[in-house]
């Protein structure tokens, strides 16, 4: 029975983490958080006045940690009060995630308005519709991220036997998913989509920072189109990275051949395999596409 619960927990945790990654990246892109945030912030200073939603809450890790921890804390207190079967956990997580979404909306709106108020010298106008149209979309992705991270924390605590409390696991998950979202997923939006008029993959030299694309297929670009675009690649890659992290980490609980050291051994072997795979991939890519170009 314990083995079935562990297997089920591993599969469920991996699947939930994959979904959470997709939603987290879409949430950050709908609000231009993290890396794109600085690019959108700089744009009016060099004459690119825009209609993006720019949600400067903090780096993605602390922000996601707050949404996940608030949702998980409320769910944890509700289940402690009303009982903790699977159905109560689901309902409690939904209530917790809804509460943390309200917080996200408040922080998001306050930051967007504040940043534009500090842009007076560069004649950036505050358009209410460019805040109020993407905000519900952003909140929806934020809700799904917080909900899934809370469920994941409950799965890790219950099915996988993690000794920490549910809110603490949610805090770790929030920080981790934020870090992955801002390092893996954001590149696609911050360095590619915002700079589509530069050669693909050329990065962002200091001299072109802030020279972002402000116009779309027709009219001005808005922050509702951004997740529609990034969902095809950035979101999935974030989901893959976070999903693999949680799924492979859960394997360390499946075996018991070396006592308490089992987890360390299993994870070390997995890290070694991943490193070898990455090395071989790099060698293959360089052989096929040539060396890195000199500046």
């Amino acid at each position: 029975m314990a083995a079935i619960s562990l297997l089920l927990g591993t599969a469920l945790a991996g699947f939930l983490a994959f979904l959470a990654g997709i939603f987290e990246d879409s949430e950050s892109n709908a609000g231009s958080a993290s890396n794109p945030n600085s690019q959108v912030q700089l744009a009016p200073q060099i004459g690119n006045r825009h209609r993006y939603f720019n949600k400067a809450i903090s780096g993605e890790p602390p922000a996601n940690a707050l949404w996940a921890t608030t949702a998980a804390t409320i769910a944890y207190l509700l289940t402690a009060h009303f009982g903790g079967d699977a159905f109560s956990v689901l309902i409690a997580s939904i209530i917790g995630a809804a509460a943390s979404t309200l917080l996200l909306c408040a922080y998001g709106a306050l930051s967007h308005i504040s940043r534009i108020a500090s842009m007076k010298n560069f004649e950036q106008t505050l358009y209410w519709d460019s805040l109020l149209t993407p905000l519900p979309l952003d909140a929806a992705y934020g809700f799904l991220t917080a909900l899934i991270l809370t469920l994941l924390a409950f799965a890790a605590h219950g099915l996988l036997g993690n000794p920490f409390s549910v809110p603490l696991i949610a805090l770790f998950f929030g920080i981790t998913i934020g870090a992955i979202g801002s390092s893996t997923g954001d590149i696609y939006y911050g360095a590619e989509r915002l700079y589509q008029h530069y050669i693909f993959g050329s990065g962002i030299p200091i001299s072109v920072q802030g020279d972002i694309d402000v116009k779309g297929e027709y009219g001005y670009r808005n922050s509702v189109d951004t997740p529609y675009f990034t969902m095809r690649f950035g979101g999935l890659v974030t989901g893959l990275a976070f999903g693999m992290l949680i799924f492979l980490d859960a394997w360390s609980r499946l075996f018991t051949f070396a006592g308490v050291w089992t987890g360390v051994i299993v994870v070390s072997v997995l890290v070694l395999i991943i490193l070898i795979f990455i090395y071989l991939l790099e060698v293959y890519t360089r052989k096929r596409y040539g060396r890195y170009a000199e500046d």
């Binding site: 912030q41 004459g47 825009h50 209609r51 504040s114 500090s118 358009y127």
Partner: protein, 247 residues
Amino acid sequence: MKEIQIHTLFGAALLSGIAGILLIGHGISIGIVFLWLPFLSAANSIRGMAMYGLGTGNASIGYWGTAVGATSAFVVSLSVSCRSTPLLYVAAVVAISLVIGLATGILADKVIRMRIPRIELNSAVIAMSTAMITAGSLLILGSDYGLYPFIYIIITLAVLHPYNASTGAGENQKRTLLLALVEACMTTLVIGIVAMLASRSSIPVSGDVAIVAASACGLVIAVVAWYRLVKSDIYEIRWTGYPPAEH
């Protein structure tokens, strides 16, 4: 416009924070409103450090300062009880956070060489302010360890966000501090709601209801005051439209 000095704001925050903790310790939960000033003082010091071109380091300063403050308060709460020795409790919270805050500030200046003016002072102020807020929140929420991560992260965001949100050429201290007040009220509102759930009684405890009511009133007043400043500072506000074409 003349800015409020770090010392003045922190002096007021220290007195107000101590009064708040003692009131909450004596069962008067509404004393949480006295913790709003420490929020302002911490946000002001984060502004003082992040103004020197830290950019994305803003969040890290908030993380770091609150980590020092919250850890000090958690450690004190494990060994000293506010119910039996309230003055010792407050003194220990302030003293330990002062020492660790100063030590991390000096290390950042001398060892890591971050070259930020007054980093030791600001680091100590952030640590002491957030330690007082954490100590007050702990007294309200009780000693369930499961709630520690929530207390830490919600205070972190409330103190690092005001300056991060207002960054730009037109930033000024008054608007940043008013935004800090908005977020302080928002944070105590959420803490009040969580306290209602944490009390585990079927009807909400009157003290927790008072926190929520006072925070909601404060929030409305602070948002109105902040928005008035935004309207005077901003270039233009419109419902919709296109930016003037440049290229």
